[in-house]
């Protein structure tokens, strides 16, 4: 071992040079190139009509079936900036609206992402909204009905949303938790668009387009996904999503064997239970 290190310190030898990571605007972001999206039904027309009528939109569906991709696609289509807020269980109304910060001798008001979106007429997308604190409904409700107003109590301001502004949220009805249910007073303010895993032919096409996989691989992955979806409620909370299939196809395209790719990208992503992992591996060896 030691003679390996005689000619100089190997750690110092590899100097880390910074890669030019693209700095993205953290808040409003214009989507410049068309995000790939394959419509499964009339969701694009429905969304456009809701936007034109200034109605907020609720995207329902299991994880990884294309909700976020859809909203990016629509933001690109409508040429509006998109502000995405990933909701978590500590997200409060103040995190959305804004707060005072202290710099030097004075207090400065800083808009939160929702206020920023209202001011700039952007699309504000609250991802997994049920995760957020209950008090967020205070600001969501007046903005989501025909008032279209954002009360900023602490700042003493009441923002009227311009016609370009749109509030969109996503919600996964698959969680079997009573706490993770959307209240009726909230959900009944929204135009709801339901997302499902795409039909097999469409899902194959999505995998092929996203990854360049051949049609046999894509078809096998879709069948594997269907087998895992049959297990929903019998050991799995969710079956494999389209996103996981895309991951697996990308690994296969890099020369990983289908069995290893499906194990890493699908089985381990779905479960920690050794028996479930084995069952999913058996599915993979059956479809390939």
């Amino acid at each position: 071992m030691t003679e390996h290190f005689t000619d100089g310190n190997p750690i110092m030898a590899t100097k880390i040079s910074p890669l030019p990571a693209k700095a993205l605007q953290t808040e409003a972001r214009f989507i410049e190139t068309e995000p790939y999206y394959e419509a499964a039904g009339n969701e694009i027309a429905l969304f456009e009509a809701a936007y034109a009528s200034q109605l907020p939109v609720l995207l329902k569906g299991p994880t990884g079936c294309g909700k976020t991709r859809f909203i990016e696609h629509m933001a690109w289509r409508l040429k509006r900036p998109l502000i995405t807020v990933s909701c978590h269980d500590d997200l409060t109304a103040a995190d959305l609206v804004g707060r005072y910060l202290i710099t030097g001798n004075e207090t400065v008001w800083v808009d939160g992402p929702l206020a920023h979106a209202v001011r700039s007429g952007a699309i504000c997308y609250l991802d997994e909204v049920v995760e957020a604190r209950r008090d967020t409904t205070v600001v969501i409700h007046p903005l989501a009905d025909d008032r279209r107003m954002l009360p900023m109590e602490k700042h003493g301001e009441l923002l009227q949303a311009p016609p370009e502004f749109l509030l969109a949220m996503s919600y996964n009805p698959g969680y079997q938790s009573v706490l993770k249910e959307l209240k009726h007073s909230t959900r009944q303010r929204f135009v709801a668009i339901e997302f499902q895993y795409p039909a097999s032919a469409l899902e194959e096409k999505i995998i092929r387009t996203e990854t360049g996989a051949d049609s046999a691989t894509a078809a096998a992955l879709v069948r594997l996904a269907q087998m895992t979806r049959n297990l929903k409620g019998s050991g799995l909370d969710e079956g494999a999503s389209t996103r996981l299939l895309v991951h697996a196809a990308k690994l296969i395209a890099r020369g990983i064997t289908p069995a290893a790719a499906c194990h890493g990208a699908i089985a381990e992503a779905l479960s920690d239970d050794p028996e479930m992992l084995q069952a999913i591996d058996e599915f993979a060896s059956s479809v390939f």
Partner: protein
Amino acid sequence: MTALPLTARLLREKLDYLLGPVLSSRRTAATLAEQMATLDRSQQDLVLHWVEVIAHSNYEMAYQFVAAAPVALKKLDTGAAEAWIIRAMDVYDREGLHRGSEVFRTIDAHPPSAADHAAATFEENAQVLALFACGLSGRRLQLDVSDEPHTDTETLYLPPRTAVFDNAAANFNLYKVLITLLWAQGRFGTFHVDVVAACANYADPQRAAALLSHFENLRLESRIGSTLPGIARDLARLRGNHDDPRLITLQSPDAVVQDSLALLADHYDTFELPVLPYRIALRPEAAATRAARMQRERSELAEALAQMLPEQPDDRKPEAAAADRIDIRAGLSAATGNMDIEVRIDGTSVSPPAAITQLIESIAQDAGEIPDDYLQAIDQRSNHQSGDETGPADGGDISPDEKGVSHLYDEWDYKRRHYRRDWCVLRELDVTAANDDFVAETLARYRPQVAQLKRTFEMLRDEDRLLKRQATGDDIDFDALVAGYADLESGMELPDRLLIRRHKAERDLAALFMVDMSGSTKGWINDAEREALVMLCEALEVLGDRYAIYGFSGLTRQRCEIFRIKRFDEPYSEDVKQRIAGITPQDYTRMGAAIRHLTKLLNNVDARTRLLISLSDGKPDDYSDHYRGEYGIEDTRQALIEAHRTGIKPFCITIDHEARDYLPHLYGPVNWTLVDNVERLPLKVADIYRRLTA
């Protein structure tokens, strides 16, 4: 150095002791002992160990085992011998002494092969195999064991073990292949005709059935190949990749069971069956099950569709029959292997609820499509209803009282290191409410303590409050700012903790109390338990935690009982109080089944922390089946491990002074506590809960 074999005399003494109840003056252990004396010592020890284990279940089984063991052990290695014993005991559990001892007697019928050490058993792989079967599309299928693989179209019967190949993976794979073939029989229409009846017309129905089964396997292999090529490859390899030109028609994706029957007619006399590592039987049960299911699902579908059908507008002519308004198309898509289902009502396409889709899929699987007369059943149904309103409801043959309340639970047999399947029958019952003043009296007696308890619990109650001087937060903490500003003026740095944050109460826990209602609690222990529950409820009401109380008792595995005292969704009402007062000692303490059932209930509650707290007065115990002692402790331990695995935290409060000897083994070193003075139990339980959750 190996120990010397035991002598026949010594063995006879041991066997006399172990098998006493089934020996007599005419049936002695003498011959058994002589045969056993020929084994080496480690084999003798193995036999003696298992004799003892088996005798716990049944002495006659143990006797049969000893009789068969010397011959068997000359052929089997230790692993294979244990598999053989386990299998016999499984058969005994399921089918009784006669069939069980048959397994011991017919050891020659299952000649051990070189592959025995690599055998895969159903028992070991049951979980993975069940998940695998569940992943296959179509009707939900159960798995069970049988010596001959076959299916009745609802359950797939698999051999208890596979030992064809000399590596375990290949033996496991054989299970996978068998499941897929049996699934495909139902999926791709093997039972669309009564295959057993069709074979009965031949001179040798058994040969005909074997040929037909082989032809069907080939047909199904090519159907499977389009969606599960991995399995089809395995199948082809198992039969030696040899394609018989006579059977080429079976490879067409349109081939149906009639094609196999036609080939059977052509080649019945001449075809030579290849020797394969598996053989799938065609059993008459399949036709019967299918017929019963078709009849049942026909009326279920009619019922479900009738409810989906919107009311007809009045101006429409009333004769518009339901059958004309609904159109269902269902069929297997050859390309994807999925069932394509389309339902149209009054010409527009609708998406029916998942339950109806499953029903349609199941019917289409049996009949190949949705037969027209199924839709006519809707109208017949409505006529029937209007004509005879008091007539029996559909499916009245199931008696809900029997089915609704009894649950089956496995039980862990530590000596066999296996579960006894569906061993305990558990019923949920209500405690008979007592109409007395027990609760009021208890509260009066402990009035000062109750007040004290409530104050303590109020302090524990997590409330929303403002946290000051925080680095992050929603608002400015002006007190901190003023102080900080003074610091700044005097030349120091402005502190960064200048914000206020709102702390939200997040005491997200659910507790289930399981109370020992065994006969041993009779008297003052029972009183103390009831008083403890009263105090506990008072305290928990202050705290606002979700909680439920269930009692448990049992008398043999056939009668495990759970008594509802307070469910999670029930408020602490007068009824609950009367039920607490009505807790009376019952029978014994078969804890395993009770824990398994309550685990299930507790897992239905959504909470970050789920506690299962048992109040007990002693070891698990039951009247028979040797539950007393180590067996009961090990079963209880296993049940607790299962509960823990699902995220539940078990805890035990006991008054048994010997608890130190066994509770650490059951609950771990810290998850139990001993209240050594029963009189103090009422005061202690709430306090323990407070410390546990603070």
